[in-house]
């Protein structure tokens, strides 16, 4: 029993004597728990609004009210952009959705609310990796349209509504397919609307008032009689190559590839520290080699391994899961190369800061988890609070994941890759310089 207790005591003393590892073991789960808790309902913090653009080609009273309603909704950030700029931004992933309200949308929507016939078509361009955002926008837009189209119909005293009612009475008179009962009900409703507009309250319990009250906000109804959604959505995934379907594997291969390449680089960085512990570093340093040569060789070898692994990972994605480089192939290679360099410099920096293999391992796991979470590899960044979305721009992984997405399924051009590559190279240079300064050369 004494030996058993001594063994336990030894383990406890060894574990708790490594303060840095202990701190990381405690800090990592707490940080991640707080992170996800705050994202999914913890506290009363609001998520950042979803950036969208609305191109209002109608410019009617109804369309303006719809746009104003969307703008007033805290879940959305409606940006004023020309159509071309909006289309470019949604392709680049900077906007989640672009809605285009066609000319005469207001009139056509009101007209088709009750009557059969072609409904106005809303052109929707969306970021195909953000299906949750699209669903939110779709719901909020429908709410605004129903509210303002029916509002205009019921409460407006302008000529538009009266003209509409006149048109609809004419259509009703000429419609042979309606049963007498239905025709009578609709006429009652039109009468009730006109009374409301004229300031005469509808008598409680009358058929027209009941119909008018109950029909607002109803979901799409059959074309024959009743209310229906007064528009159609024509949704288009915003990609350079519209012929190719969005492939979610492209996004997941990018995210997971980045994550596990980072883990690999950390292992190699820790390998450097193990080499020092084994005396190998001393032997290397005894040779006529500069520090730049020594660390540069490590950097290069890690980068080559990272590049090879990431290419193989995407190769598997291409062979078996339909992942495609729909943008620039040189751009894709540039992004992979820049990320490989970034990975290597991060591995070196962690080794320089951690100083011992044990401390570096804990620190590296913590840093990598933060980079991946905030970089948007685990959950879409639009669910982040606004400050975190801004902070993500300072995460090199954000640029890696976005760069890979830009070159694969988004199908963007080399210029975009050059920007992402340049940012990653800048991060790499910073990390490498810090590593060179902080690296402990002497034992």
């Amino acid at each position: 029993m004494q030996a058993f207790l001594a063994l336990i005591r030894k383990d406890l003393v060894l574990y708790f004597s490594n303060k840095r590892a202990l701190l990381v073991n405690l800090a990592a789960p707490i940080f991640i728990a707080v992170f996800f808790g705050s994202l999914f309902g913890g506290g009363d913090k609001k998520t950042a609004p979803i950036p969208i653009a609305v191109i209002d080609q109608d410019q009617s009273e109804v369309s303006r009210r719809i746009v104003a309603g969307l703008r007033a909704d805290a879940s959305l950030e409606v940006r004023d952009l020309p159509a071309d700029a909006a289309a470019a931004q949604v392709k680049a992933g900077k906007l989640k959705v672009v809605l285009t309200l066609p000319k005469d949308f207001g009139k056509a929507a009101a007209r088709t609310l009750f009557a059969p016939g072609d409904r106005p078509v809303i052109d929707v361009q969306f970021d195909p990796s953000q299906s949750m955002a699209l669903a939110v926008v779709r719901g909020l837009f429908t709410q605004q349209v129903m509210q303002h189209v029916t509002g205009a119909l019921m409460g407006s005293t302008d000529n538009v509504t009266q003209d509409l009612l006149k048109d609809m009475r004419a259509q009703l008179a000429s419609s042979a397919g309606l049963a007498d009962g239905q025709r009578r009900d609709l006429l009652n409703m039109f009468d009730a609307i006109e009374k409301v507009q004229a300031g005469v309250p509808a008598a409680p319990g009358t058929q027209g008032a009941a119909d008018a009250a109950s029909s607002a906000g109803q979901p799409a109804a059959p074309a024959r009689g009743g209310l229906r959604t007064p528009f159609e959505l024509r949704e288009t995934a915003a990609k350079a190559n519209r012929a190719a379907a969005y492939n979610a594997y492209s996004q997941s291969f990018g995210g997971m590839g980045v994550q596990f390449i980072l883990f690999m680089a950390i292992d190699l960085g820790i390998g450097l520290l193990l080499m020092r512990r084994m005396g190998l570093w001393k032997r290397y340093r005894a040779a006529p080699l500069s520090r730049l040569q020594l660390l540069g060789a490590s950097l290069a070898s890690i980068a080559v391994i990272a590049f090879t692994l990431l290419m193989v990972i995407f190769g598997v994605g291409m062979l078996f899961f339909g992942v495609r480089v729909e943008g620039s192939l040189p751009g894709f290679i540039l992004v992979v190369a820049a990320f490989s360099l970034l990975t290597a410099s991060l591995g070196l920096l962690l080794a320089a800061v951690g100083r011992t293999p044990e401390a570096t391992r804990g620190l590296a796991i913590f840093v990598t988890l933060i980079l991946m979470m905030v970089g948007g590899a685990w959950v879409p960044s639009f669910v982040f609070p606004e400050w975190l979305q801004k902070a993500a721009l300072f995460m090199p992984t954000t640029w890696a994941i976005e760069g890979l997405a830009a070159m694969t399924w988004r199908g963007l051009d080399f210029g975009v890759a050059a920007l992402h590559g340049a940012v990653m190279v800048a991060f790499s240079a910073g990390f490498a310089i810090l590593a060179l300064v902080r690296f402990q050369w002497e034992e």
Binding site: M278, G279, L280, K282, R283, Y284, R285, A286, A287, P288, L289, S290, R291, Q293, E442
Partner: protein, 306 residues
Amino acid sequence: MLTVEGLKKTYGSRTVVDGVSMTVAAGRIVGLLGPNGAGKTTTVSMICGLTPADAGEVALNGQRIGGDASPVKCRLGLVPQDLALHEELSARHNLALFGSLYGVNGAALKSRSEEVLALVGLADRADDRPATFSGGMKRRLNIACSLMHDPDVLILDEPTVGVDPQSRNAIFANLETLRDRGKGLIYTTHYMEEVERLADEIVILDHGKVVAEGTLDAVKRRVPQVASLSLLPAAPFDAAFLADLPGVQGTEWRDGRMVVSLASLDAAGSVLNRIAAAGHTVLDIQSGRATLEDVFLALTGRQLRD
């Protein structure tokens, strides 16, 4: 010839090497002897350019060893105390790697690998991984890696730590061969029998300072004690009663034997008489000249393995 002049190194307020100087000529082995913490490894690190010296200079054949990439380092070889080998690479691959670091390549790299493998007796294991080697074989490969660039001076930092006597003898034979080929060697250790066996000259360090240097005989002559008595008593006893005898410089127990340091063998008779008078039985008596252990004891007042 390697010349080390006035090396000094301080960490904070602690001076670990304080004005160390020495010379290593071609075809000579210099034993750098001192207890743990004497400053041997720091001295070696400064000689090899791994640690910058606060003061002093190291030069090889008149050329100062400068920074990290100094070409003079090509003429130096370092055998670290640790087994600095890539265990998952073959012996041949390890040799090729370390040769390449010094600019050895092509056919020269191959022939040099064969040469050093033969020297350390590992030619038949060239394609095996060090992970499969015994401790002694790893030590020999550790030395071989430092010979790939055919250095003029080889610096060995306690190269026999943890090896069995047979492997140690094999290593000594390798080092003697290198000396015979005209290489200069610095051999750091705290095993005085190793230095007595190998070294042509000795530098003894204590607390970062050179306390004695020269040939083995010259160093031994610096000690007033010229002889010792080694006694095997029937039962251990307290030797304090011998301390006041004329000519007795000290007593200590070593491996079950009582060793009495004497200024002269003339004092041996009175020592034996007093032991007999005290009623102690001595089973075996040996006399000898001063050893390095005695020298160190006389110079520093403490034993080498303190």
